[in-house]
C-alpha cells in the first residue's frame, strides 16, 4: 500500500498520510509540538474500530479508498480549514485495509495560538472527511460482511460549517 506524505502547496506544516500502517498518537502530538512555541493549543482526535455498530457485534473493519484521490481530497479539506481559522500545524492520518477491534482508523491534529480555532478546525476536518474523502468502510460482523451506509446526520452536520 502506498504511503503518501504530502506537504500542502500553501504550507510546509501540513502532514497528510494514507496508509495501512498504524500510527502512534503520542508521536503525532510530539510532531505537532516540536519546534513550536507559537501555539498554545493542540487539539487531536483519534478514531478507532469499535465492537458494536447499529446493534450488531463487529469483529473487524475493512477500509477501501480511491488512491489517486485520497491525499488530494484530504489536502483540500485542510486548505478549507486554513481558510476559515487561524491554525498552524495540521496532521491527518487515515488507515486503509483490514483492521481489528480497537485498532486506530484516523488521526486529526491541529495546533493554533488559541483553543477555539484549533477545536473548530479539527472538528471541521473530521466532519468533511466523513462526507468528502473517498474512504469506504466494510464491517465484518458475526452475521457477515456489510458495507456501512453514509449517515444523513454526518451530511447535515458538515454543511452547518
Amino acid at each position: 500500500m502506498t504511503v503518501t506524505d504530502l506537504n500542502s502547496a500553501d504550507s510546509i506544516d501540513t502532514k497528510v498520510r494514507v496508509s495501512e500502517a498504524d500510527f502512534n498518537a503520542g508521536d503525532e502530538i510530539a510532531l505537532l509540538q516540536a519546534n513550536n512555541q507559537a501555539d498554545g493549543a493542540v487539539v487531536t482526535f483519534t478514531g478507532r474500530v469499535r465492537k458494536q455498530n447499529e446493534g450488531q457485534q463487529v469483529t473487524g473493519l475493512f477500509l477501501e479508498h480511491y488512491p489517486a484521490m485520497t491525499a488530494l481530497s484530504l489536502n483540500r479539506i485542510v486548505d478549507s480549514a486554513r481558510a476559515k481559522w487561524v491554525i498552524n500545524k495540521v496532521v491527518v492520518i487515515h488507515r486503509v485495509g483490514q483492521l481489528n477491534l480497537g485498532d486506530n482508523i484516523v488521526f486529526v491534529g491541529v495546533t493554533s495560538a488559541h483553543r477555539g480555532d484549533a477545536f473548530a478546525a479539527a472538528e471541521f476536518i473530521m466532519d468533511y472527511l466523513k462526507i468528502e474523502a473517498p474512504f469506504w468502510k466494510k464491517e465484518t460482523r458475526t452475521d457477515g460482511e456489510v458495507w456501512i451506509d453514509a449517515r444523513q446526520s454526518d451530511q447535515d452536520k458538515a454543511i452547518t460549517w
Binding site: L63, Y66, A68, K130, E132, W136, K138, A150
Partner: protein, 82 residues
C-alpha cells in the same frame, strides 16, 4: 476514450473495477451513466441510484459536468471514512 472507475459496494455490485468508454464531445456525467446502462443492461439498478457520487479527475463533480476523452471518471457510493 474515457476511463471509468468503480469503488466499494458499487464495484462489487457491477463486478468491475474499471471500464473504458468511447464518448462523443459534450457528454455529461449523467449521459455516461446512461451509456453504461445501455451497454450493460444488468447495471441499471446500481447505476440508477440517486446516491451514486461522481469524481472527475479526482474531484467531486455534479452529474451535469461535461467529460472529455482522456479523463478519469469515478463512480462510488457516499463515502463512509473517518
Amino acid at each position: 476514450m474515457l476511463t471509468i472507475l468503480f469503488f466499494a459496494r458499487l464495484r462489487e455490485q457491477l463486478g468491475q473495477t474499471s471500464v473504458q468508454l468511447t464518448i462523443t464531445e459534450n457528454t455529461t456525467v449523467e449521459q455516461v451513466l446512461t451509456q453504461l446502462i445501455e451497454e450493460h443492461p444488468s447495471w441499471q439498478s446500481p447505476l440508477s441510484s440517486n446516491n451514486i457520487l461522481a469524481a472527475l479527475n479526482q474531484q467531486m463533480v455534479s452529474k451535469d459536468t461535461v467529460v472529455s476523452a482522456g479523463d478519469e471518471l469515478a463512480f462510488f457510493p457516499p463515502v463512509t471514512g473517518g
